[in-house]
């Protein structure tokens, strides 16, 4: 780090992000805080009406989450052409164009579609998958979330285009138990899992790791110190107590948790975040093991499709997946979906008792 820095460096840093006021389309500035209502015009297109009478249309397009600068420039070109040089990305990472001239909507859609950015995703539709970076760029990735996101999105593409699901469909993927993206409150979530304890690389542990904090960080007390020789220490794992969270690997590279042969994917359903009707809910485990099968994970996409179809068939209007399942009961859902229930579905951790059914109320199936 003995690099040279430019003279005014210390006055330039800590400048913060670009000021949003400079990033807003003039119509947004004018009507800031004074929007009146919105209407769904057609898939991908929402009309906003301001108290001033001003009208704005948003057009939402799917983009890959990993983008080249080339593609970003294409999006900029389109924004220059149709939306006065302004655009927005949504919190689920779609691109949104802001159109003041209604007649530009269809040409914009044509151009977006022709360039490979399908328009859709408004209303009760399949939303862009929130996913993490996977093998593309992370050292703890069990599977490649961007790849699986692509495969699932292809599978559910029709629901991107047609907003006729019972409610919104929010899928999120995390390539390891760190669960970047906070996928734990998603309608459908897919998490990479380790099924074997870490293999300890004594060399690395003794040289590079803070042994006490690594040991203290294991939530199930599976670790204890091991003496290798005079002044040389490492860590010992009790495999029976390890549930593969990978926390030890996060803090110490010598705790080699990866095991491509046994690592797998798991599927979770029923989470949500809004308070609309029902409070936020966690996603719940439905399948603890699905093979890690790149490049397109057919086992996963098949299950996802099946759950979505089941939900479409059985849910009432406005029912998110979790709301539907809680109405019919998890026992019924497992039956309907033909899923196997095992001991792995029962919580064994900190708050487990509150998940146990302290009641004789249940359905037989």
């Amino acid at each position: 780090m003995a690099q040279k820095v430019s003279k005014d460096y210390w006055s330039k840093i800590m400048r913060g992000p670009p000021y949003y006021g400079d990033m807003l389309h003039p119509i947004l500035k004018k009507n800031y805080g004074k929007w009146k209502y919105h209407e769904h015009v057609k898939p991908g297109v929402v009309k906003y009406v301001a108290e001033s009478g001003d009208v704005l249309y948003t057009v939402k397009a799917a983009i890959p989450k990993i983008l080249s600068v080339d593609t970003v420039r294409v999006l900029c070109d389109i924004a220059d052409k149709y939306s006065d040089g302004y655009l927005k990305f949504t919190s689920r990472h779609a691109a949104q164009f802001l159109i003041t001239d209604e007649s530009k909507i269809d040409p914009l859609i044509d151009e977006l579609e022709s360039k490979g950015f399908p328009v859709g995703g408004t209303g009760k539709s399949f939303k862009p998958i929130i996913h993490t970076i996977g093998w593309n760029h992370c050292h703890t990735a069990i599977y490649d979330a961007p790849g699986l996101a692509k495969a699932i999105s292809d599978e559910l593409f029709e629901y991107w285009k047609k907003p006729d699901l019972p409610a919104k469909l929010k899928i999120a993927l995390a390539c390891c138990l760190n669960m970047c993206g906070a996928i734990h409150c998603s309608d459908i979530a897919i998490v990479g899992l380790h099924r074997t304890p870490p293999v300890v690389d004594d060399e690395i542990v003794s040289k590079f790791c803070e042994i006490p904090s690594t040991i203290a960080g294991c939530p199930t007390f599976a670790l204890k110190p091991k003496v290798l020789g005079p002044g040389k220490r490492s860590i010992e794992v009790d495999p029976k107590k390890c549930m593969g969270c990978g926390n030890c690997y996060s803090v110490c590279p010598g705790m080699k948790i990866f095991n491509p042969k046994y690592d797998c994917l798991s599927i979770w359903v029923g989470g949500k975040i809004p308070d609309s009707k029902t409070p936020p809910k966690f996603s719940r485990l439905i399948i603890p093991y699905v093979p890690n099968n790149p490049p397109r994970w057919p086992e996963v996409t098949e299950i996802v499709k099946k759950i979505v179809d089941l939900w479409r068939k059985h849910a009432r209007p406005d029912e998110r997946i979790g709301e539907w399942i809680e109405r019919i009961g998890w026992e019924r859902f497992f039956k309907l979906a033909g899923l196997e229930f095992t001991e792995k579905h029962i919580d064994t951790y900190l708050f487990s008792v509150r998940d146990f059914r302290s009641s004789t109320q249940f359905k037989w199936e």
Binding site: W35, H139, A182, G217, K256, P260, S276, P280
Partner: protein
Amino acid sequence: MSLELNIDELKKELEKKPWLIEELKKGPWPGFITEYERMAARKEITKRMMCQLELSYRNRTTLWKHGGAVTVKGYGGGVIGRYSMIPEIGPPSGSHTFRVNQPAGWFYKTDKLRAICEVWEKYGSGLMNLHGSTGDIILLGVDSPEVQECFENLLDVGYDLGGSGSVLRSLSCCKGPALCEWALIDTLDLYHDLTMTYQDYLHRPHWPYKFKIKISGCPNDCVAAKGRADLAVIGTWRDEIQIDQEEVRNYVKSGLDIEHIVKNCPTKAMSWDGNELKIDNKECVRCMYCINKMPKALKPGKDRGATLLLGGKATILHTAFIGWVIVPFMKIEKPYKELKELLEKMWDWWDEHGRYRERIGELVYRLGMNEFLRAVGLPAVPQMVWHPRNNPYIFWRPEELE
């Protein structure tokens, strides 16, 4: 890693065509492999990243190493060190990540976006995440020697880094008043103000672990703050839902099943007599459902502010928490003094008592809400819990006994 990596064999694998990742070019959804191809054509680092990715797909494992500390001068976070396990094939000497702090609400003027592309094409792989899950612009893959200069160029075009490590992370907020009729607080301004006020906390590791703030204009929570922000700021109101009865009737005329909506109200606060919609506002829990269904007819009230929830986080270590109410209502008005004072008290307390890698919600769990509330000076109110405690394990302070 139980996998033994043999570079020669790996090289041979790459010769087998077609590559697995090409399978991902099929299908209607926009894919990312062509993004690699575009940049790989002119950037060596990207070509190498792509080769490595293909080998990950073949061997079903990551090929990135445990990151080392990579930073820019004066900052503790914002860059994530990344090295290849197979530098002979992948990036030879580093493929680090820049987290670049996004403008509030992810609104852009195209020139600003083009500017970052410029810098990134010059110094990095040319691949980016628009955006990362926390909200940053994620620039993927820059070689070690370029880090500092790349950063300075980013500064020059008006960007700065976001957070990583044990710092205040980049905030996020919904589009709010810029483009939503339901925004009950000025999400964008609050985002920007807090980000600027706490630049030091954002860039310089201070704390036991990370701290995330996310801001949503209403309980729909379009940035999913409740589930993943240590502090979630959620717009709400205290008075009455505004009803335009004429528009209600219009919705009904055009086919809206209003009985269905009345039935779905969680507290049965609504009634419909065929002509007029009544809402018993003291029963309403502001869930947004009825408003969501009839944006033309219903509007949130006028006495606006925010509910604050503490403790949202992902699963490591004490399992995932959804944030819980710590302030039912706070006025959110510039210069946000009340909120900032509270934040600072929270941070002080957490900083003093938190263990290494202990999120604030986990600390509250360990020490108890009583300790937390007293430390930050918040009154206990029933809104903080679903129901009062069910066990008699109550703490009493000596001064309370008389």
